[in-house]
């Protein structure tokens, strides 16, 4: 089985709950780096989100800074009013214009992660309105990564997952817990040991 080098997760409306459920369903600590892009208001309290995530899923969630290193066991959360881009071993931030009305945008994160991590990337798209993330899912697939999307039926808002499914570039769907189980299976090394 191909190894996973990075997991990128994106969500919008209802995303905090869905992310918590997903992150609770994978090993703590995560054996690979993880980036999380949640649509959030410009004035959103940066520190609060990371704190809430830590409490609800036990993962080490940290607000990303410019050039924060990608480390196993750390969930880097995109800060409000910046795009998060994945580079070689670090994340970079950008104040370019909103994409799909969003900053941070999931498309921007997924696209850069696909470029950098190609076949080693797993992208997970959860609940939300709009269509941010659909192009990103397509980009991930085009570069040989794997794509998991929340089943619109189980999502608080099904637009975003639905748009992604319409691209035809989705490998699997499920509830956040089911996606977490799929992800966990991928994170087990070929030798059958965790990590």
């Amino acid at each position: 089985m191909r190894s996973v080098d990075l997991v990128a997760v994106g969500a919008s409306w209802g995303g905090l709950d869905a992310s918590c459920r997903l992150l609770s369903s994978i090993p703590v600590p995560t054996p690979v780096p993880l980036v999380l892009v949640l649509h959030r208001a410009r004035t959103s309290d940066a520190a609060m989100l990371a704190t809430v995530l830590r409490r609800c899923c036990g993962q080490r969630a940290v607000e990303a800074e410019d050039k924060s290193p990608l480390e196993p066991g750390v969930v880097l959360v995109a800060p409000p009013d910046y795009h998060l881009l994945v580079e070689d071993g670090v994340v970079s931030l950008s104040t370019e214009a909103p994409v799909n009305f969003s900053r941070p945008s999931i498309d921007v994160a997924f696209d850069s992660a696909a470029q950098e991590y190609t076949t080693g990337l797993v992208a997970v798209l959860l609940t939300g309105t709009g269509r941010d993330g659909a192009d990103g899912i397509r980009a991930v697939k085009r570069r040989g990564g794997r794509t998991l999307v929340q089943d619109p039926a189980s999502a608080e808002r099904g637009d975003m997952p639905g748009s992604a499914l319409a691209t035809g570039a989705v490998d699997d769907i499920g509830t956040p817990e089911e996606l977490g189980a799929m992800l966990s299976a991928m994170l087990v090394s070929p030798q059958g040991e965790e990590g």
Binding site: A64, E65, D66, H83, D88, T95, E96, S112, E116, G120
Partner: protein, 276 residues
Amino acid sequence: MPGDRQDREELEISLLLEGVYRHYGFDFRQYARASIRRRLWRRTYAEGLSTITGLLDRVLHDEEAMQRLLLDLSINVTSMFRDPTFFAAFRTKVVPYLRTFPFLRIWNAGCSTGEETYSLAIVLHEVGLLERTRIYATDINEAVLRSAADGVFPLAKMKEFTENYLAAGGTRSFSEYYVSAYDRAQLNRSLAENVVFAQHNLVSDRSFNEFHVIVCRNVMIYFDRALQDQVHGLFLDSLVPLGVLALGHKETVRHTAHAERYETVDEVERIYRRVR
């Protein structure tokens, strides 16, 4: 292949950046790759082209196309009093230090279209320090500087600017600072009287003065780490002892090569003081 991420697109980007550097002298080779890539593709499509190499062909042979690319690479979407809490902290924690000087020099590095520059001018005006200050607002792009010097912004942005201004501790009515005509707002010319807009390239140009404050926010996020260290060296050379460096909300001097030369004035707002 694991560890080998060079592919044709990466090669084309490297060739374009090398070509721009050798022909025009603008060095974007150490900019953070992910956002450069996005901007190059946007420019490529805007020019009606389909490859990065096509873009290289065009900019090498057409100076106006290079100007368009330069604009794309240097313009950032920003707002007056962006991060109002930063400006509020500037008032309470930096202004008292500034009051001790009879004459002030402030460097706003990477001023882009001037929103940050005018925000600083307004704060200094309200605390009675603008008259004794010279603000040097620099950017790599002459066209953008001309725009900044004009001080004209879309009227539609004034609502957001006003909200930010108030959240930043503004003591007046923001509408006092501009006049509107049609769909544009002209900032009071008096705000620009103490501002020098000048071209300066953070990558290649050297220090040109010593400053009491350097404000460079959300500019270095577009540089890779090596270039960031280089520019931090430039800033250190350009700060008076105990001078203040102000960075963007998600930037820090910690983990840079010169971290131990600074103490923290406000960690949350990314304001630092040179102590060594």
